[in-house]
Symmetry: C2
Subunit: 646 residues, 2 copies
């Protein structure tokens, strides 16, 4: 196995999660988020918009993104239904399918807005219209529906739509040389190709990736379509941002840093990485390496969040990561999970991708939804001063709620990947049962009993019908863990795969069952900022296991101003395990406690509190830290992730 070996993603339907923590999060999506979102969509007119009955002058005028809201909800619903049959949710899902089918035009086109509101602008403003963005989300919903039901009832119409799109856009003579202003369709094409093997899908995705930002002799495509509409080209006062906002100022091969809108950029790169996995394009591969480093090494927050600049919903300069004004859109973290997941499959022995996937998932994504599943953050600054921030039930631009729902309900997809030589890459230590087909064609079953996410260690039981001696587990050594150790009841080989992973195999095993255990410990650890990140000069962040911790004022009522906290360099952190009762005492209500899987670990330390009133002496206090994703579930409060050192 060399580092250039590829791996393929495990399919979601082959994984069943049993982790109490993750079942807590997923059941909350089912029982709270999906119904709450349906209600909001129903009330705002979104749910029924695909019936195409809106007329000018009526309320609830459809918006360009509305189809994608329904699509993401449907996608999440199908993931949920595959595990938790539910007749009424099933009926709603099929109603959504009917609506989408009903909205399809003769030529295959599906888009509410450009069918009923501005039909004359169909395909005329691809830089801003979100038509291809909605198409991508509809395709992902169709794929989820296909996987759940085995029926082509939605995937069929969507494939017709894709063929229509392919007839409109492409490198071939006579086709428009456009590409989406909001990327997303590329990744959905790759995912659908992974299931259906239809080369048209990959060709179209490859075209969108390669065409993006190109300067043809006739000009930039967005200029051409703007001119055709009689409006001035970007950028300029009142003309919109520069094309770097859409990652369309140059081609991917020419890009040296991620710029512009963070969600667009991450969807784009996830799609590009998927294309690269399938086409093995070397120039895209080099670009992906550069752009990964730009995003993750220089523009990522400590929580895995992305986007320093609210005005752009996007990236700022390198290492410019302000806390209070940071944007860190929930969707950007979700998109980073997708990007990291696709990158894993280009270089599965580089554990950085899984490390970042886990970081973003457990922190920047999870924080986007309340523990009770009913309210959502769109942007996620790392500090607040005046208690202004709380989650919202819904947003006018409602991308984040359904996006987080579809990711949480499909988290099983990120636990394993399948490499050549029967290598099973373990990205996440999450209790689950998975089915994996070996190179021999035989299917094995991997049960993982994990102590995660709160403690380190997992016991793997691998069952098959024959000899399991060829099976290898590539075990990732998580960030900041100690005492990483592998054991087995069989004799085994354990080989280092860099300093980030161990490859374990039981070559002489003759049983049809193999047990391999990995143990490791989590201790609270300090993270120091990059020296050019001046917003956090002389500060530390505290982490334990996959979680970044924070101070929330709710837990620290004696501290008038969280900014007065100073952490001594020799501070020791003690751990406190909270069970259901403990969480209740800490102020979390029943719904939140269940959403957490009834357990959490909080940290305590002695901190120095500055007294800014001249007449008072500094004091010491016992500071409570909670996992960052758990903040803002107990009413208005303040937050700090980075804490100044004493």
């Amino acid at each position: 196995m060399t580092s250039s070996s590829l791996a393929r993603p495990i399919e979601l339907q082959d994984v069943s999660i049993s982790s109490k923590f993750w079942l807590g999060r997923i059941r909350t999506v089912k029982d709270a988020s999906l119904p709450a979102m349906y209600q909001q969509m129903k009330e705002t007119g979104r749910w029924d918009c695909l019936k195409l009955q809106w007329k000018p002058g009526q309320p609830n005028k459809p918006h360009q993104f509305w189809d994608s809201d329904i699509a993401k909800w449907l996608e999440a619903a199908c993931y949920i239904l595959a595990k938790f049959p539910d007749a009424s949710l099933h009926r709603l899902a099929e109603e959504a399918v009917d609506n989408i089918r009903g909205a399809q035009q003769e030529d295959g086109y599906i888009n509410t807005y450009y069918t009923v509101v501005e039909p004359e602008l169909k395909w005329a403003n691809i830089a801003w219209s979100h038509e291809l963005y909605c198409a991508g989300h509809l395709l992902e919903a169709a794929l989820a529906h296909y996987t759940y039901t085995g029926s082509n009832r939605l995937l069929g119409p969507l494939m017709k739509y894709v063929r229509y799109i392919d007839s409109v856009f492409g490198a071939e003579e006579g086709k428009k040389k456009g590409y989406p202003g909001h990327e997303e369709v590329e990744l959905s094409l790759v995912r659908t190709y992974d299931i259906t093997d239809d080369p048209l899908l990959l060709n179209l995705a490859d075209y969108f990736i390669k065409e993006r930002g190109s300067r043809r002799p006739e000009g930039h495509y967005y200029d051409i379509e703007a001119k055709a509409r009689g409006v001035p080209p970007q950028p300029g006062p009142g003309h919109g941002p520069p094309y770097s906002y859409h990652q369309a100022d140059r081609t991917i091969g020419e890009m040296t840093s991620v710029e512009g809108h963070a969600v667009r950029a991450m969807y784009w790169l996830a799609g590009a990485a998927g294309v690269c996995r399938l086409t093995k394009d070397k120039s895209i591969r080099r670009a992906l390496d550069r752009l990964w480093k730009s995003a993750v090494h220089r523009k990522m927050y400590v929580t895995g969040g992305l986007g320093a600049i609210p005005e752009l919903e996007g990236f700022g300069p390198d290492y410019y990561l302000p806390n209070e004004t940071g944007y860190l859109e929930t969707c950007a973290a979700i998109a980073l999970v997708f990007f990291a997941h696709q990158m894993i499959h280009l270089d599965p022995l580089n554990m950085e991708y899984a490390r970042v996937l886990e970081l973003a998932l457990y922190n920047a994504v999870l924080v986007g939804v309340a523990l009770d599943g009913k309210s959502f953050f769109y942007d996620n600054p790392l500090a607040t001063v005046d208690g202004y921030l709380s989650r919202s039930k819904w947003f006018e631009v409602a991308c984040c709620p359904a996006n987080v729902a579809r990711l949480l309900s499909s988290v099983g997809r990120y636990i394993y990947s399948i490499g050549s030589d029967d290598m099973i890459f373990v990205h996440l230590y999450v209790s689950s049962v998975a089915r994996v087909t070996l190179s021999t064609g035989e299917t094995i079953r991997i049960s993982q009993e994990s102590k995660g996410p709160w403690e380190g260690g997992s016991a793997f039981a691998i069952d098959g019908s024959t000899n399991l001696g060829s099976v290898k587990l590539c075990l990732r050594i998580p960030d900041g863990c100690t005492d990483f150790k592998v054991t087995s009841s069989s004799s085994f080989q354990c080989e280092s795969a860099g300093y980030q992973a161990r490859i374990v195999q039981c070559p002489f095993v003759t049983q049809k069952t193999v047990s391999i255990s990995v143990s490791f410990s989590f201790r609270p650890r300090s993270i120091h900022p990059h020296p050019l990140n001046l917003d956090n000069t002389h500060c530390v962040a505290i982490a334990r296991g996959p979680f970044i911790y924070c101070v929330e004022s709710t837990d620290n009522p004696d501290i008038t101003d969280l900014r007065a906290i100073r952490i001594p360099d020799n501070a020791e952190f003690s751990e406190e395990i909270l069970d259901e009762q403990g969480l209740g005492r800490q102020g979390f209500d029943q719904a939140c406690v269940h959403g957490l899987g009834d357990k959490a670990i909080i940290l305590k330390t002695k901190a120095h509190i500055l007294q800014t009133d001249r007449n008072e002496q500094d004091t010491n206090t016992v500071l409570t830290l909670i996992p960052y994703f758990m903040w803002a579930n107990r009413g208005k409060s303040n937050l700090r992730v980075w804490l100044p050192r004493l």
Copy 2:
């Protein structure tokens, strides 16, 4: 003399500046800023808008603020003309006067927008209309014109307008209970009262201050007028910000902190302080103390700038002072100078007011205009990362250019105040000649030869026609100076007035001339942030004399990223005096050099430069610092005021 003794401002026409530095700044206003602004106003239709010839459908539709742009230009022009006669500038000023006179309606009303664009909304939207804001600026222009010409040609019509306003707004039965959404008129009424003694002016100002934010039984005035227009009241989505944005959420007596739009808040408090000086209202006095402390101790940047929140153009929470995203509008610093100046006269022995006035003037105000006078900053962050910031020739909302012009051209007003008992308060050490009328009615002449602003020390020569034994100078001890020492050729008494000032008198003098000299030294000094200002944790700012210094990348081409600079705690700063040639070598062009009065002092120190590339060792370099107000005069570059300590 007790600390409750009041003082009166010296009138601008009684002071003539001879400081090379200030003549450089003022001549630049005359020769560059006023012509450039006239040109912009002419081209954008502002200059001629008061001719009231705009019709719907024509270009250059007047905006609600346009009258104020002309008024501030005219005010500055009159200040300039009083010192530097100039026939063509005089003609333009009189043309503006003619236009304003011509725009006056039968009832006295003067407002372009509400005469030609939306006449049906006259006085109907005082929360947002800027009618009273424009009225205030027109009144200040009229006052400047009256002082310059001695003619009532503009002040007469404006007094008619004021009487009309007084007939519309006021506490009396039948009058509207409104007050301006953008304060300014209050201060102009006070200033006009100081000259004309017309009690109507003070009564109206007093009404505006006292009525503001009151909750009458019939409701909040802004709600009432919104309802009358048939629009929803503030706040709410699409309804505008909360009333705290206008400082109208409660009355001044109920306010505990400055909130909302910083320029509005400072104009308001300057007006309130002026009213308080004249009415001696104790509740307002207490409120002013509270609100001064809120603004200056908890919400002011190290440069004297105000406004952390761009979205509000206003105040954030206490000690929240981000560098890169700070707003620090030039106009807010100008308004702080006005507020501080009015506060001086409530408590002239409290030197904090003059200290803050000087800080804001030499830093947060001066930075608002290029050294060549031709371009302007609207907002003034204290750090930039990607070289995005440069001054603009003009703004759509063009409040700042003419505002800085009128302040710089009237800076003489801030040098002295006249207390009871022939006490002359010296606020600024600026070479000048002033006329002061003593309690005896006799007029004396004070010549000040100052080494400022680059070095400390001034020689005062006081000439009168009789015995000068009663004259006292209250000499402020500037921030961070050393070796403050008073000498005189006559025998003199020197008494401490707190630790911030010395009161000097030559009681036995019998001559008609007295010489008093004060000497002090400036050394580079470090300023440490408030501990709750976490944006600058473990950082220092460097100052010398009245100037805050900064690092600009232009002067430090070897430093790739200014964020890599670390200042050792034992760093020593050497001073380098730049003359005309030296400034040229430092990259300043001729116009900038002359705008500076041909001299500046820059600082050098040995700094540590972090190398973030793992393969390179940290280095030391000689760092150049320049006064903050001088930055951004040599093309695109980056800026940092606060520097991390090593």
